[in-house]
Each structure stands twice: as structure tokens, then as C-alpha cells.
Amino acid sequence: MWETVAQAVINGLLIGGIYALVSIGVTLIFGVVKIVNFAQGEFVMIGMYISFFLANQFGIDPLVSLLVTMPVLFVIGVLIQHFLIRRVLGPNDMPQIFLTFALSLLLLNLALMLFTANYRTVHTSYSDEAFHLGELYIPEAKLIAFVVAMALSGALWVFLHFTDLGKAMRAASQNRDVATLMGINPNRVFCVALGIALALAGAAGSLLMPFYSAYPFVGQVFVLMAFVAVVLGTLGNVIGALIASLMMGVAESLGIQYIGADSGLIVVFAMLLLTLAFKPTGLGGGRAR
């Protein structure tokens, strides 16, 4: 009995780590730039395809291709902020929503055109293996993904708290006008925020590749969970998003185990509604990180 529960919790935590990478990106962009990036899932998809092609053409392990996907997506993030988002940052929200939503549709359909709707998988030596602890098992690929995801989240936290640029980002997210008055260049900070957020999405893509298939719609699966996690963990709160993602992974897994495999999401959304009913600002208590 306890093994079943423990196994469900392990499964939930492991997939929650991936949700976390996506949701931290969304919440970081929202916290700093104050826009909702609807295209975040599509950047996970791009990360997956980069990893897939590197593995397929050059035999590079998806974990090694992390070193390619993260910088590439960082640059894409900077370019998107500099050439697109910067131009719609104003008092009106609608152009920003349209921009990121259009970006999502564009990338999705480009991927369909270029890569077709086929599922692409990468087979690594650890894809189908697992560590066994008595009755319990921990899939190797997921464990690696979880550990790297947590390490990246930790690195981001250190960056935000202990570097000048990180502090500038937090300052810009707390009060953009005052930060500007203190000599912080908002566009530079926003560029870095977008870059980091997209690099995390790319990392999620590379980490997913050993155990999940790449296809043009793959981002949509993860971005839904990411948005819930972002709201649950208080908009703009990185630690909140991380904790919420892990909770959601566990809730989904337990839901599948004890309610039904087609109702895992019911538990997740019930958790979201209950949290919002008692703590309307989310688990983070309304503090942006």
C-alpha cells in the first residue's frame, strides 16, 4: 500500500521538475517584463527539436545538447525582446497578448510545416532504464531531468539574489519606474529576463527528449500546467512557481492513482481553485519572489 503512494509521489515529483522549468520561465517573464508569454510551450518544442536533430544527425546525447539549446534559446529570447516585445510595451495589454499568442501560432505552424506532425524520439542508453529500490523504481532519464531542473532553478535563485544584474531584475520587477530612476536600463534587464526564461524552456526540451516524443504540439501539453503553476505559486514568484509545479505533479499523479487516469487534471484544478479561494494571491502570498 505505502509503496503505491510513495511511487505515485516519486512519479509526481519527477514530472513536476519539468513543469517547474516551464513555469519558472513564464513567471520570470511576467514578474520582470509584466507580459504573459503564451509562446513559452513552443520554445520547449524548439528545444526538443534542436536536441532531436543533434542526437539524430551527430549522435549527441540530449543532455549534452543542453549546452547548445540553452545558449541558442537565450539568444532567441534576447532578440524577441529587443525586436518584438520592446515595441508593444505600453499601458495597453492587448498588443502584448496578441504578440505572444501570434508567436505561439506562428512557431507551431512553422514546426508543422518544417518537421511534419510525426513523433520524434531519441533513444539513449538510459531511456528505458530505472533504479530499483525494493518495490520502488526511479526512471533514470527522469531522475537526471529532475536533478538538472532543480540545479538550474537553484542557479537562477542565486543569480537573482547575489548578482548585480539579478538584483536589478528583481528591482525592475518590484517597481519599474523607481528602478529606472536608480539607473537600471530596463530594456537590458528585460532582454536578460527573456533570454533566461527561454533558455529554461530550451533546457526543459533537452531534458524531456530522452523520455518524451517531440512533435509540434508538444509545448501545449506543458504550457497548460505551467500557467496553472504560475497562478498557484503567485504571479511573478519564482520559488512559488517551483513549489507549485512540484505540488501539481504530485497531485496529478495521486489523482491518476486514486481517482482515475482520465481525471488527473481534476485534482490539479481543484487544488488551484481551493488555493485561490483561501489565498487569492496564491501560495507565494502575493510577494513577487
Binding site: T4, Q7, A8, N11, G12, L14, I15, I18, L112, T116, A117, N118, Y119, R120, T121, H123, S127, D128, E129, A130, H132, Y137, P139, F211, Y212, S213, Y215, F217, V221, F222, M225, E252, S253, L254, I256, Q257, G260, A261, D262, S263, G264, L265
Partner: protein, 417 residues
Amino acid sequence: MRKDRQGSVSNKAGLDRVLSKRQGRREFLLKTGGILAASAFGAVPMRGWAADPVNIGALYPTTGSMAQIGVGCVAAAKLAVEMVNDAGGIKSLGGAKLNLILSDVQSDTTVTRTETDRLITGNKLSAIHGCFASALTLIASEVAERAKMPLLTGSSSDQLNKGRTYTFTPFARASQFALAQLRMSRLVSDKPKVAVIFENTAFGTSTSNGLREQAAAEGVEIVLFEPYSAGFTDASPLINKVKSSGANALFSVSYLNDLILIVRTVKQVGLNIAINGGSGGFVIPDFYKNVGKLAEGLQGVAHWNHDMDANAEKVNAEYKKRTGEFLFEYAGGLVAQTFMIADALERAASTDPQKVRDAIASLDVSSGYAAMCPGSKVKFGPDGKNIHAHPVGVQWQNGDLASVFPEEDKRAPLMKT
């Protein structure tokens, strides 16, 4: 013509008005002259020596989430039409060639409704085949019924045989798949304890209900019966449930992506269980490409397999040459369907959909490409079901699908896993 009109509009807006007027006049003369000439010498006598082609509609998703199967279907549909035409077309219609009109239903139910409607109203069709996915085919069939347009489909949903007059299903039904799957489980164990997991769609629900209803009569115990929402991120919780159920066989009614996750997870858990992947995403080349040697020995059921007879092997060889992959059940089945339509056209000696429908209803073949199905006989009952249809049990062996069940369709011995 629209292009010409656009051209003249832009000319008018151009700098040289005189020139444009002269061009317009010349264009007019050319066009009217052309039309006159065409009607006087071209179109009318042409009918005398080359029969008008017969339009066949094909509805398949070549974009969207179901595209990987849809694209293969289109390749097979084209191949089938070429085969009919190369063999001399429809002789009773003066050697008329089949003309395939393709329509992409985009893996989407709403699009399927409008595309089917557009295909039927926009073209003079004689029959349609499509769409492979049950959810899409059910809708296409509704539209076709209303437009009184015969539709042949390999889709297995039993609902397609309820209250329809223009829908014909030459291959095994979901309920029959279930029976075959249950009987196959006895190949693995004398006391089969089966866990059934299925996606909560029309395809998954109808197939799994068939399994549940017939299990007891077949002496098979179902220890877990679990729907899941297609497109999950993680199969572990589901496999966790399978493990705690104590099953010795696993029936998974899923499309490709979910099935890959399920098979991999079973391996990770170290669960020793015989997997029967059913049909759908399990019996297509992509499955092997994605799962690799983990797929070896896995069992499934199909309404068609390429090792059935010499004709099927011949089509398979040609399809392989073109696409690099073996002819999977749905694509192979629709080649047979095209020949069934050709046979009906031949006997109807008419392109009128109503007459073609009646000719399909009275189809009775037991040889040739039209009879390319397990059992090699096609004859439709009043509900549009092929009364001889039954599925074949298949197993992945060396990257190919081999027919292993039932005895009369067996082409290779069952590989022990």
C-alpha cells in the same frame, strides 16, 4: 480566369491607359475566341473518345496530430488509383480513369465536417473513402449520409453500422477486435488476468467496452479497466496502477505517442507483462521506429496485414519502394477499398453516387485486389458490415508485422517473449 481579371485591373491602374485598353481588347478576343473554339471543336467531340474521369473523394488528416497515419493513407490512395487506371480504368464507362480528389481534414472534427461538405458539394463525386480516425470518420459519415454519398471506411467504430445506408465497412469492427485480443491473451497464459487501459475517445471507449463485455465468455478476467486522457505527460502513474492490479497481460488501446510512453514505462518498472497494443498507433511503422527493439514480440490486432496473400505482398512491395515503409493496415485496407469502388463502378456502369451505392451494397468478391482482407471475402450485410470480416492477430518480429492469429490467417509462428 480570375488571374486574367486581376491582371487587367492592375493594368487599368497602371500608367499607360491606352496600352491597357488594347491589351484588354486583345485579351477579350483571345478569350471569347478560345471559348468558341473550345465549344465548337473541343469539349463536345472529346467526350466521344476519352471518357470523363470518375471522381473519388479521399478524406484524410495530413496535418495535425493524426497526420503521420494520414500521410501514409494518401500515399496508398494514390497508389491504388494508379493501379486501377494502369489496368485500364473502368471498362463499362469507356475506360474512364479514376481521379482522386484529396481533402485534408486536419485531425479536427470541426474541419472534418466542413471539409466533407465542401468535398461533396464542390465536386461531382461518385464515392468517398476516409478518414481512419473514428472520431473523424463518424462525422464524415454523417455528412455523407445526408448528401447520399457512399463512404467506404476502415474505421472500426461499431457506431458506423448503426442507422446508416451509405456507409460501408469492409473490415473488422471494434467489437471483433476485442474478441480477437481476448483470445490472443490465451496464447500467453491459461489463466489470463488482463489490465485494460484506454484513451477516453470514441475509438478507445468502443474498443474497450467490447473487451469488457466479452471477457467473461472467453474466460478472461479483467482486473483493471482504466480510461485515461490522451496526450498525457507521464505514463508512470498509469503503469503504477497496472502493477498493483496484479495483471499478467496488458491491453492498451492507444495512439502512438501514449503507447510509446506506456511501453517504455513498463520496461522501466521492470514489469513482466505481455502487452497487446491493439490496433491504431500500434500497427504502424512509426511505432517500431520510435520504440525500437522494445517493440519486438509485442502483440496487436489489425484489420489488414500485408502478409495475407500474394496480392497484398505485391502492393506492399510497391508501397515500400515509394515510401520506404511497409504497407500498414489502414493504408493497405484503403487500397482494397479503392478496388471495391472500382468494382462497383464497373457493375453500375454509371458515376451516379446512388447507383454506385447500390452496386457497393451488392458487392460480392473473393479474389483480386478488392478481396484483399483477412479471409479474402467481401460481401456487405444490410448494416454495411462485411459479413466475412474478421481481424488478424499480429506480432512485431524483426521490425515487421507478422500475422500470428487465428490459425487460418497465421503466416509466422508466435515469438515467445
